[in-house]
């Protein structure tokens, strides 16, 4: 738990995190790591959903439907945003752990929750009006 800032062996990247504060309890660092990975898996699941919607386009054999294509692109871009945000949040959290300051609330979680709700409703409407 010693301060490692002056240690020349401690050339850890990114400096924006490791240049401040003290080493936190390793358990907290590892938990933060697992949370980051959970967000990355969520991002990959969003992308998989996008590719899945596009596969319906391919399976229909009637040419691409613009509604399906836009839903697929929306899901894929949401996945990209989610993975970038995951890294940003991991950095913020690790910094907060090192400086012993309170953890900021998750900004992405409510957006993702409501966003997925809206996408689910849109998919339901698509299903009802066009058989998807």
């Amino acid at each position: 738990m010693a301060s490692e800032n002056d240690d020349p062996a401690c050339k850890r990247w990114p400096h924006r995190i490791y240049g401040v504060g003290n080493e936190p309890d390793p358990r907290f660092t590892l938990a933060n790591e697992r949370t980051f990975l959970a967000w990355i898996r969520t991002a990959l699941a969003l992308m998989a959903a996008g590719v899945g919607v596009e596969a319906l386009n391919a399976a229909a054999g009637t040419g691409p439907d613009p509604l399906r294509t836009s839903l697929a692109v929306l899901l894929l871009l949401a996945g990209v945003v989610c993975s970038i945000a995951a890294f940003g949040r991991w950095m913020t959290m690790e910094r907060a752990l090192r400086t012993n300051s309170p953890l900021p609330p998750p900004k992405l979680a409510p957006i993702l929750g409501f966003g997925l709700g809206v996408i689910g409703l849109a998919a339901l409407v698509l299903l009802l009006i066009s058989g998807f």
Partner: protein
């Protein structure tokens, strides 16, 4: 807290098996990459065998590298904790993020072109 824990100062040796859980999370995420990759390649083969082969040649070594790096990170974390050194840094986090962004871009290009 079990009294047989070797050293109480070292949090990760508590009954929570922190390093194992974290390594499994890394491997699970790597596996998700591999599965997603296979689905995408399977879809691409229908459209263009050449595109699928190029995509496979680029991404399969990437997926293997991710898995190997996740495992070596596990050993590094074990070693450092035993030596009371700080844990590994954020390079692998950035690599995973970059791979996920790459996957999203490839997927978007696929959807827009097909």
């Amino acid at each position: 807290m079990g009294s047989e824990v070797p050293d109480e100062r070292h949090g990760p040796w508590d009954p929570g098996l922190q390093i194992e859980r974290t390594t499994l999370a890394w491997l699970r995420t790597g596996l998700t990459f591999v599965v997603g990759l296979m689905v995408l390649l399977r879809l691409l083969v229908h459209r263009s065998a050449v595109a699928a082969a190029v995509c496979a040649a680029v991404t399969i070594p990437l997926a293997v590298a991710i898995t190997v790096l996740s495992w070596s990170r596990h050993r590094q974390a074990e070693r450092r904790l035993r030596a009371d050194d700080p844990l590994p840094d954020g390079v692998l986090h950035a690599s995973f993020t970059a791979s996920a962004v790459l996957a999203g871009v490839v997927g978007t290009v696929y959807v827009l072109l097909m």
